[in-house]
């Protein structure tokens, strides 16, 4: 097992988590918790695969995936923003609905054959950097590079632009934002939908780049839920989200790859000789998510930072004296 190869593959899987996590950060920063990431990712994966199979155009697949997931997110937005429904339950409903829709529309897709993947390439100069070059900049899908760009862009958007500042205000103190003339509902709708679009992008990245194909609801395998957990770990910060995403991506690849070789570093590989131990390996990402949450929650409790203050609370204008 070559560590460089598994880390390189881990970056690719991590890119999926990165899109989903950053999307959820945008939604939660506006004050809307959207637990439906898994459902939106499935819709995205299915739509991207289906469109690409039919048209042969992966880019079109991407766009349709983002639009479909954003539409689903819009549904969550209407129910939670205008109807003030419980965001937790609505998110669960979205997961079920997204899973159901993707299964219904994805019927037969699993046998549909191979699909044209999104292009892969190596970045000329950067790939020459020792260690990091082969891991980060060699023979990656274009989605991985888009992921790299998204990290600073999101950070910059949140912290150095006017709409980003308004977004943070809406998530922290919507009535203050409203009083200053910011349209709270519009801000929330836009970012919930942007979050959905990114979740759709995450799904498309799976089906068109990382592990191509449509494997019904196993396509995402709980990545959407891990992304929701990573948001808490990341304390709603895109840079921390990137670290978390790539680490989890690497962990997932490690679990897949560690069972292959007969020996690791010259010793007999216990996972090769006891294949059932693999079940314990499979638990690792989920167990790590819990551990990461425990660490994140302790930090959040100690410093009382990160969590948008209005997260999960519907905003009703003009409810005074409450």
């Amino acid at each position: 097992m070559d560590p460089i190869i598994f880390l390189q593959a881990g970056v690719a899987t991590g890119t999926v988590l990165l899109f989903a996590t950053i999307g959820e950060i945008l939604a939660e920063r506006s004050g809307v918790l959207n637990l439906g990431v898994e459902g939106m990712m499935l819709i995205g994966a299915m739509a991207a695969f289906s469109v690409t199979i039919k048209t042969g155009n992966g880019w079109l697949g991407l766009v349709v995936a983002m639009a479909a997931a954003a539409l689903l997110a819009l549904l969550h937005g209407i129910v939670t923003i205008h109807f003030q429904a419980d965001q937790v339950v609505s998110g669960l409903a979205l997961t079920l609905l997204g899973t159901g829709l993707s299964l219904v529309f994805g019927e037969g897709l699993s046998k549909a054959g191979a699909v044209t993947l999104l292009p892969k390439f190596t970045i000329p100069v950067l790939s020459a950097i020792p260690v990091l070059g082969p891991i980060l900049f060699t023979d990656h899908s274009v989605m991985v590079y888009i992921g790299y760009a998204l990290i600073p862009l999101t950070w910059f958007y949140l912290n150095r632009t006017r709409p980003g500042m308004h977004l943070r205000a809406v998530g922290e103190n919507p009535s203050a934002a409203d009083a200053m003339g910011i349209n709270v509902y519009r801000t929330r709708y836009l970012h919930v939908m942007a979050g959905g679009a990114l979740a759709g992008l995450a799904g498309a990245t799976i089906s068109l780049a990382v592990s191509p194909g449509w494997f019904s609801d196993l396509t995402t395998g709980g990545l959407g839920w891990i992304a929701v957990g990573l948001v808490i770990f990341a304390q709603w910060d895109p840079v921390r989200a990137a670290f978390g995403s790539y680490a989890f991506g690497a962990l997932r690849r490690f679990i897949l790859d560690v069972q292959g070789p007969q020996t690791i570093f010259g010793i007999a590989n216990p996972f090769f000789y006891n294949p059932y131990w693999g079940f314990f390996l499979q638990m690792l990402p989920y167990a790590f998510t819990i551990i990461v949450l425990v660490l994140g929650s302790r930090a959040a409790m100690r410093q009382r930072l990160g969590t948008p203050a209005a997260l999960g609370v519907p905003y009703v204008r003009g409810e005074r004296g409450k």
Binding site: G39, G106, E107, G222, F279, Q282, S297, A300
Partner: protein, 368 residues
């Protein structure tokens, strides 16, 4: 009133006003309406993908309520759903989002099966004792699986939604490990069949006395589930603890002001919720499949969430909604495409919470 109403281009405008009082009939009416609208939307989607929605719905009705035999099968599917719906209802009452019922079901099944497969319970035990022991084991198993996220939530304020969900994946892997590595029968993805004394009695077992019961699969688990319904109702509406749960669920600050120990109750309620889900696992392995296997549940744990919501967290309502969803799951197995039952479930839940606004607000159309 000069100038206090903005001039509008339309002759009518929609006014939304908070309701001061909700009539008793409104909430059930809205619930039924939401289900109907969800089913209609489901038809639209089915038609879109080229299916025949009317045939599909007719099939669902026939295959679940058509005759006593299929209705008995519907009740078999409803049994684990009742347990899980109850578990979710208890936890949701305290605003604890336990979506880990799926994993708690698996661990409950594992704990009950372990007694048999490890040889603690053997063929010489009396059925009553064997079943009682398995009930206790499954409840303990489920309770432990619920207690872990409960403890993390209570002590460290760790989001229970994610932890309970992660525990689902862990539980399924754990059961798979035991099924494959420890108790596998000839390398298959299942254990050996349990001895007969651990099987929950079925109606068909009494066909000698009551001929009408011939072939009916409904098993004793349903009775246990109905007992659990009554117990949970008493806990929620007739006990001090239930009062504490309801008070904490409505306003945690008021609860701590009233001297209620929220940390302890969080762990206890998660344990009760997990124990109920664990019973569902026991009921499945001893009442239906009579062995441990890797796939135990077609997502009962998630369906239970909707059931609890549809029942508006009322234990008796859980029974009715479980039968409806039991029918959907039973008939849905044969419906193509495979995602239809999940789609309808999601649709129903969405419509339910969206329609809630009607019970809180009055929507009027007024002439300008």
């Amino acid at each position: 009133m000069t100038g206090s109403i903005k001039k509008s281009m339309f002759p009518f405008s929609i006014k939304i006003e908070p309701r001061l009082d909700t009539p008793k009939w409104l909430s059930p009416l809205v619930t039924v309406g939401a289900v109907v609208v969800a089913l209609l939307l489901g038809m639209v989607v089915l038609a879109l993908v080229g299916g025949d929605p009317i045939a599909a719905y007719k099939h669902i009705a026939d295959a679940s309520f058509g005759d006593i035999g299929v209705f008995s099968d519907t009740l078999v599917k409803a049994t684990p759903l009742i347990f899980i719906g109850l578990g979710c209802a208890v936890a949701f009452r305290m605003k604890l989002w336990n979506i880990g019922a799926e994993g708690q079901l698996y661990i409950g099944a594992l704990a009950a099966s372990a007694l048999v497969l490890s040889g603690v319970i053997n063929a010489s035990w009396s059925p009553v004792l064997a079943i009682l022991a398995m009930i206790v084991a499954s409840m303990i198993g489920g309770a432990i699986w619920g207690a872990i996220p409960g403890f993390l939530k209570a002590k460290l304020n760790v989001n229970e939604i994610i932890t309970t969900l992660m525990m689902n994946y862990i539980a399924i892997s754990l059961v798979n490990f035991f099924v494959f590595a420890v108790w596998s029968e000839k390398g298959f993805q299942m254990s050996a069949v349990f001895p007969k004394n651990t099987w929950l009695p079925r109606l068909a077992d009494f066909a000698a006395q009551v001929p009408e019961f011939r072939g009916l699969t409904t098993h004793f688990g349903l009775v246990i589930a109905l007992v659990a319904v009554v117990v949970v109702w008493f806990i929620l509406y007739r006990s001090k603890w239930g009062y504490e749960i309801r008070l904490t669920g409505d306003n945690a600050k008021a609860a701590s002001y009233a001297g209620i120990n929220i940390v302890r109750n969080t762990v206890l309620v998660m344990m009760l919720s997990g124990a109920l889900a664990g019973l569902a696992g026991m009921s499945e392995v001893t009442g239906v499949i009579h062995r441990l296997q890797g796939s135990l549940s077609p997502g009962y744990g998630y369906t239970g969430i909707i059931i609890a919501w549809l029942a508006r967290l009322n234990p008796f309502g859980v029974v009715i909604s479980s039968v409806l969803f039991g029918a959907l799951i039973l008939a849905g197995r044969e419906i193509q495409p495979a995602g239809v039952p999940k789609l309808i479930q999601g649709m129903i839940l969405f419509m339910l919470i969206a329609s809630d606004v009607l019970t809180r607000y009055r929507i009027r159309i007024v002439k300008n």
